[in-house]
């Protein structure tokens, strides 16, 4: 599924956004256990254990990463540095989703 996401990213994104997008997708691909990926009209969504990790929407050279089940944090990514910040948040969110606190 991640390969399909990569193809969709390659089609939808501007070439100037490719390095930052590659960092984000490579990082999400490296998560263990691997998240589920969905491509739709909204963009691409990555879920783990029925909880949304992040949602990515592409607007030419800009892409927006909304992290968390409520999309509470939004990263407007134009460069690799911001993509790293977004990926760091996604990794923390993945850890939280994989090891939920007992209610």
């Amino acid at each position: 599924v991640l390969d399909a996401v990569r193809e969709w990213f390659a089609d939808a994104a501007d070439p100037s956004a490719a390095p930052a997008l590659a960092v984000l997708v490579d990082g999400i691909s490296a998560l263990d256990p691997a998240p589920a990926a969905t491509v739709g009209a909204f963009g691409a969504r990555f879920d783990h254990a029925a909880e949304t990790l992040c949602e990515v929407s592409i607007f030419g050279s800009l892409f927006i990463v909304r992290v968390g089940p409520q999309h509470a944090v939004e990263y407007r990514v134009r460069d690799v540095a911001t993509a790293l910040e977004a990926l760091d948040h996604v990794v923390r969110q993945h850890l939280r989703a994989a090891h939920p606190a007992p209610s």
Partner: protein, 298 residues
């Protein structure tokens, strides 16, 4: 000072005491036999500290449990005053650098394709960034490993030996190369003797050849409840169970909710999980991991 004359009937005093003395029959103390392994030029303490022994531990596993184990053990060893180097060969996230508080551009070095470098993490633990690409920074990494007291290598469950071969040159550069040096690495007394017997200027040693994993690692800790990995040759493998309900193991980490970024061993040293890793770090340092029958109760 007493000089024995060889007749067996006591000694002749040379320090003014004329009373006859009989030689001691019981067990001798360490200082009585220290001339057997120490030269007159160097005291025992200095000789022992000049030849450092490095503990090399592999942590085999997957996911957060593996990264958490590496980070927690590294923190506990750093608290004990050891210089720790972490070599993370598992490309999966979260990795050990993430758990030790590195910045994203450091712990994501493998994704960014940065050159190998050494980053200082929490409590001064040194983390090798991008150790998979040792072709461009082998000397730097070898220097960091050579100065460490403890080297922790994180390996994935699948084909750990193939990944280990990539860093074997760095790991083997300061490893014992001869039979005498291997014996010295296992015996403090022999090591002290080696420090005095070694020539002042050592001849340059040829590049180390990695033929046996046993020469690179002292012990491997397998994290998780999966089948035991058998690809590490003769390295002693210690299963570390994760959570309740897992089969009997060398040690067990209780169920807990991991903090989002740093390990519990760093944030809450009194937590039961931190106590487990404290005990494991001390046990591995003490050499329990090498003994076939060694058991660590957690």
């Amino acid at each position: 000072v007493v000089v024995f004359d060889g007749t067996g009937d006591g000694g002749v005093s040379v320090d003014g005491d004329s009373r006859p003395r009989t030689p001691r029959v019981g067990s001798r103390r360490l200082r009585d036999i220290s001339h057997l392994y120490l030269s007159s030029r160097q005291p025992a303490a200095a000789a022992a500290s000049s030849a450092r022994r490095t503990l090399r531990v592999a942590v085999v596993g997957r996911g957060l449990a593996s990264a958490e184990t590496v980070a927690s053990l590294a923190v506990q060893w750093a608290r004990l005053g050891r210089r720790v180097v972490v070599v993370d060969l598992d490309p999966a996230l979260p990795n050990a650098g993430f758990r030790l508080g590195l910045e994203p551009n450091a712990y994501l070095g493998a994704i960014l394709g940065t050159a190998p470098c050494v980053e200082r993490a929490a409590l001064g633990v040194r983390v090798l960034v991008t150790p998979q690409r040792l072709d461009t920074g082998a000397e730097l990494v070898a220097a960091a490993v050579a100065q460490a007291d403890v080297v922790v290598v994180r390996l994935p469950e699948r084909e750990p030996q193939a990944l280990l071969q990539r860093v074997c040159a760095a790991l083997a550069s300061s490893a014992a190369a001869t039979t005498m040096e291997r014996a010295a690495a296992r015996s403090p007394m022999f090591e002290a003797w080696m420090a005095t017997a070694r020539r002042p200027v050592r001849p340059p040693r040829p590049a180390a050849v990695c033929e046996r994993v046993e020469d690179l690692l002292d012990v491997a800790v397998q994290v998780g409840n999966g089948a035991p990995a058998d690809a590490l040759g003769g390295v002693p493998l210690r299963p570390l169970a994760w959570g309740a309900g897992s089969p009997p193991a060398w040690a067990r980490v209780p169920d807990h909710v991991p903090p989002p970024r740093l390990p519990l061993a760093l944030l809450d040293p009194e937590h039961a999980v931190a106590r487990v890793f404290e005990g494991l770090a001390q046990a591995l340092l003490a050499g329990l991991g090498r003994r076939p029958g060694g058991e660590a109760r957690a």
